[in-house]
Amino acid sequence: MPLLEIKDMKYRVNDKEIFSGFSISVKPGEVHAILGTNGSGKSTLAYLIMGCESYFPTSGDILFKGKPINGLKLHERARLGITLAWQEPVRLEGISVRDYLTLKDREADPSQYLEMVGLAPEHYLNRMMDRTLSGGERKRIELASIIALEPELAILDEPDSGIDMLSIQDVINVINILKKNGAAVILITHREEIAKIADSASQICGGKIVCSGAPDEVAGFYKSKKCAVCPGKSVYASA
């Protein structure tokens, strides 16, 4: 049974159809990369799966372990084992890194999670999650928090954005740790070297999946059109 299955999902905002008959299936422990140009709906897909406010399918089903979760609120989905690492993690004034990493389990040792993302615990645990942290630091801490949650499905929305090139290996390590812990990962990325570590990949275009398969094949297909920004409808007429 798939861990996550989206069946013929439609999502419309005002007169604009963002998804039209979108379907995807992710198995337990599978790392599935989602590729697509800016504006193609990758982050919107993440919010729909997570159940963020105002992000509910117009029609179609989102199934988790075979059960529909369309009607569940964000925290109810989180408690089922779904979580999301945001593309731009928020600042949280007055909340320490230690507090943030132990939201699920106050007794947990948060040091290990920081080490997994290349941050020295002695320098970060007592710092606040506020403007004193750079975007890259917050990004790493967000990824550490996802590991700490021990999810069954982690949605990583461009985990490599805002992180310097030399640290891409840290992002890959995070994905490998999640996989080793048995989590499935939906990996939204623009970087081919990140997508390559996935077990499978799909490309979104015009509100649909236009190509699925091995990451190399999908990346090659994606690059062939040289799109920069989504035109709002599929450029793959024959797909």
């Binding site: 406010e53 964000l74 925290h75 989180a78 979580t83 949280l92 007055g94 909340i95 939201l103």
Partner: protein
């Protein structure tokens, strides 16, 4: 129960360290209503306090660097009463001390507490002042803290007012600080209002000396029908003066908040900035915490507590 014992019990329950009464190395002044219940000075600290018809009057002189914090505990343990505290504090040049004040009114149903402080901080002197209030659950209290502070050359003054547990009642804070050459002043208030609490904060920093610096920081959360108004005034009147007003108010339920940042600059080489944000809890912050499994109520609580920390 003896008034001192009862006040100190509430002092301990609100986070105070009761051993300050017996530790000979720690200065303290404890007043219940208009009674001075306990007092100790240490070397470098002179305190002359007397009882007045409605409270106490104290003259404090700091002449050296005081190692341990000076503890103040004021309050009324009865349901009704009035307490007027008049403080005249002088820091001689080079002196330094941190004051920790606890203001405790655990049963207040009809209580009025007025603080009127005059503070003069000499050259190279430093004063830290932290004031924590506990007003009990009834909201029947009116608190009016007023202070006028002058900070001399290279001096430093920081004040932190917090009222996070129990009801606020009616609160009118009125602080004014004049900051001299190369001197620094920071005013921080953190308040959580409920019920029909009324919060009015007026803080003013006048950057009078060259290269003086000032920060006004207000963090207020209100719920139910509470109301809050925060006025942060900063004047930049000298070369190199730098000031900032930072006000954040979180509003829940039918509460109403207002922020009034006032910035006056009268010297071309002075700079004063301000930022004010009022509204409900940030949606993205809320969703981030909910994605970690917290319910909306738990997430709001974490965010509000963080802001007031």
């Amino acid at each position: 129960m003896h008034q001192l014992e009862e006040l100190m019990r509430s002092f301990g329950e609100s986070g105070g360290d009761r051993s300050i009464l017996t530790n000979e190395n720690i200065a303290h002044l404890v007043a219940g209503g208009n009674r001075i219940l306990s007092m100790r000075a240490v070397e470098g600290l002179e305190v002359k306090a007397k009882e007045t018809p409605k409270g106490i009057s104290a003259k404090v002189r700091v002449t050296a660097a005081i190692k341990n914090p000076v503890h103040l505990c004021f309050g009324i343990i009865h349901k009704k009463g009035i307490q007027e505290i008049k403080m005249d504090i002088v820091f001689e040049a080079g002196a330094s001390a941190n004051f920790i004040a606890h203001c405790i009114f655990p049963k207040a149903e009809k209580v009025r507490h007025i603080m009127d402080a005059s503070v003069r901080i000499g050259e190279n002197a430093q004063m830290g002042y932290s004031e924590t209030h506990y007003h009990g659950p009834f909201g029947g209290i009116e608190v009016i803290p007023k202070a006028h502070v002058i900070v001399g050359k290279n001096g430093r003054f920081s004040a932190d007012f917090s009222l996070l547990t129990g009801r606020v009642g009616k609160l009118w804070i009125d602080y004014a600080v004049e900051v001299g050459e190369n001197a620094v002043s920071e005013l921080t208030t953190r308040i959580f209002g409920h019920g029909d609490d009324m919060i009015n904060i007026k803080e003013k920093i006048v950057l009078a000396g060259e290269n003086s610096k000032g920060l006004i920081k207000a963090r207020v959360a209100i719920e139910d029908q509470a109301q809050a108004e925060v006025t942060g005034i900063t004047e930049g009147n000298a070369k190199g003066a730098r000031g900032h007003v930072d006000c954040l108010e979180i509003v829940k339920d039918n509460a109403v908040a207002r922020a009034i940042p006032i910035v006056n600059v009268s010297h071309a080489l002075a700079k004063v900035t301000h930022e004010a944000a009022i509204g409900s809890v940030d949606k993205r912050q809320l969703e981030t915490l909910m994605a970690h499994g917290l319910s909306p109520e738990e997430a709001v609580d974490v965010i509000v507590r963080g802001i007031l920390r």
